[in-house]
Amino acid sequence: MRDQPNERIATDAIKAWKLTAQLIAIIPLLLTIAAFVGTYFFDFLQYWVGIVLAVFTVLEWAITILFIPQLRWKRWRYQIYDQEIYIQHGIIIVTRTVVPMIRVQHVDTQQGPILKKYGLATLQISTAATTHEIPALLEEEAADLRDQISELARVEQDDV
């Protein structure tokens, strides 16, 4: 756990995350619009509410779209050994995880509509007590990894 893992996730992950962030940013945008419209009709709403919301919307948009996806992608690394899976992620708190193959209970791949648009899939690794994810891998790569891990994990287990 001294060196970071080698493999990176797909570069399209950044695009997918950006798109997700765009969609989420619609919520504060709608709230801002509602606030301005509301100010026009109701006396109790002051203009500054709308302005604060607008500032927040712009900041949120800028941070989650311009900065976070790149940083997140840069940090996300993984490596599959024969005996274990090694994952690193996190922007402020960097977490490095070791999951031994013999503790793996099952592996899933997952794909939502956004990931599907970019041909990506998320790999989910479950042990008896914990669940770990490698997000946004290329579809074929995720499927290959899933098969590879389930092959490697097929070891005789004594009660969990």
């Binding site: 756990m1 001294r2 050994y81 005996q83 274990e84 996190g90 402020i92 708190i93 960097v94 977490t95 490095r96 995880t97 070791v98 999951v99 031994p100 193959m101 013999i102 503790r103 042990t127 008896a128 007590a129 914990t130 770990h132 004594d158 009660d159 969990v160």
Partner: protein
């Protein structure tokens, strides 16, 4: 070894009835209260008698249709009034069979048989609520010993010899440990359970309010408040002592004659004064051993020992873990484990502690909220600022003690983690039981060479995480190297 399908002892009906009534009481209580409030006694009694009648009919029928049958190497259970359910449990899948008796069982010479299987699916497990003691023993022996005893038949000559060996096996001295009444008294008097009992009392009293006539209630409260403060204090002390005594009594009843025996592949516990309980803990299921010292017990050098078990309903209560010894002197734990669970070792002396630079993190984590409160209150009402200030100081001391307690130790294949939430908790985990391992660092950690360790084991529900915050980064790396299954780098 085939046998006829058998019904439970007729007393099983009584247990069915009691259980059904107990389950339905809570559902109907609000309705009853509502009806009583409207003086509809007649309907309440009518409704209750219809309900009880239905329950009785239902219980008799379900007793009638419930049969069990012992076959070659499995037990077959059939049940259900309208929907017939058949279930066979193979002998090889059975993890444990426990016999337990409550008061009714003991008066009638009966026993309850609980059969537990290996899977995490509790629906596969079976409970026979009442069979005669002899039948219970027979079931236990038949299902427990994986190899049928009748095998020896083919060779007459060796039978005697085999028998002898069998007896010898049974007579082999298994390590056993029994709790003394004195230790139980100590356990009861240091248990924090009176807080819970206090809560229960409060609940009961607030409920009683609706039943006791208002006039009486008012008079009583008026009388109470008209007393001098001294009387009230004495009264409160008496109530507290009473609650404390109830707590002791409860512990005594629950853990009376607590005996733990180590067999080859399992731990076996019997306990209880009114209700005799047996439980079997297969060693394979033990995920970790823990030693817990509450703040009352720690200065007295006392601790309780528990195990974390993967799934299973062995404890059968909401407790996250199962006690394997209610209370003992801490210095005796080393020998206790050596005798009963030599797979685990406990050597608290050589713990690797946290570096000093971790102290601020531990203090700030608990003291942050009271600190903010102090600042806010100091700005708004300066003369009251001392109250949150004291809280902040206490929080700092608490944080410091958390820091002091935390430590770890690796010995061969075992990781020892000592932490404190309020009680000091020492967990012993084997390498193969750790499901995953994480090292976490934020920016300040990276600058200071600190890291947080997070590792998880499986227990009853979702898994328990052992988190050790702000270790030296080298220590975490070392633990990771110890944990890693990869071939060690040259």
């Amino acid at each position: 070894m085939m046998s006829e399908p058998k019904r439970l002892h007729p007393a099983g009906m009584i247990f069915n009835i009691i259980q059904a009534i107990r389950h339905s009481v809570f559902g109907f209580l609000p309705l009853v209260l509502l009806a009583v409030g409207n003086d509809a006694w007649f309907y309440v009694i009518l409704g209750a008698s219809i309900l009880i009648g239905l329950i009785i009919i239902f219980s008799v029928l379900s007793w009638f249709r419930y049969t069990y049958q012992l076959e070659e190497d499995q037990i077959r259970i059939e049940q259900g009034i309208l929907i017939r359910k058949k279930r066979t449990i193979s002998k090889h899948r059975i993890q444990s069979i426990d016999l337990s008796q409550n008061i009714i069982h003991r008066m009638m010479g009966l026993t309850k048989v609980q059969i537990e299987t290996a899977g995490s699916d509790h629906r596969i497990d079976a409970t026979l609520s009442a069979v005669t003691k002899a039948d219970g023993k027979m079931l236990h022996d038949q299902l427990k010993y994986k190899k049928p005893v009748t095998v020896v038949d083919e060779n007459e000559g060796t039978e005697g010899l085999k028998q002898e060996i069998n007896e010898e096996v049974q007579e082999k001295d298994y390590p056993q440990k029994k709790v003394t009444p004195k230790a139980l008294l100590a356990a009861g008097s240091t248990s924090g359970s009176f807080g819970i009992i206090l809560g229960l009392f409060g609940l009961v009293f607030s409920e009683l309010e609706t039943f006791i006539p208002d006039r009486f209630y008012n008079q009583a409260t008026e009388w109470l408040f008209s007393q001098a403060t001294q009387v009230l204090i004495v009264f409160a002390v008496v109530v507290l002592i009473l609650l404390w005594l109830i707590g002791i009594l409860q512990t005594l009843i629950q853990y009376w004659n607590f005996t733990i025996t180590r067999y080859d592949k399992e731990l076996f516990i019997t306990r209880g004064l009114l209700e005799k309980k047996q439980s079997t803990i297969p060693l394979k299921r033990i995920q970790a051993v823990g030693i817990k010292e509450t703040i009352i017990r720690q200065p007295l050098g006392l601790a309780s020992v528990y195990v974390e078990i993967a799934s299973g309903e062995i404890g059968q209560n909401q407790d996250m873990h199962t006690l394997i010894f209610p209370l003992m002197r801490k210095k005796h734990i080393v020998t206790f484990l050596k005798e009963l669970l030599p797979e685990y070792r406990y050597q608290p002396k050589e713990l690797i502690k946290l570096p000093k630079k971790a102290i601020p993190y531990y203090m700030i984590r608990v003291a942050l909220v009271p600190l903010i409160a102090t600042i806010v209150i100091a700005i708004m009402f300066f003369e009251f600022a001392w109250i949150p200030l004291i809280v902040t100081l206490i929080a700092c001391i608490y944080g410091y003690f958390q820091f002091k307690t935390t430590g770890y130790l690796i010995q061969n294949q075992q990781l020892l983690v000592q932490t404190r939430i309020i009680s000091r908790d020492t967990a012993l985990v084997q390498h193969k039981r750790l499901q995953s391992l994480q090292k976490k660092q934020h920016i300040l950690h990276r600058k200071q060479g600190l890291a947080t360790l997070d590792t998880a084991i499986l227990n009853k529900f979702v898994g328990r995480h052992f988190i050790v915050r702000e270790l030296r980064v080298e220590d975490v790396n070392q633990i990771a190297d110890w944990y890693s299954y990869r071939e060690k780098p040259l």
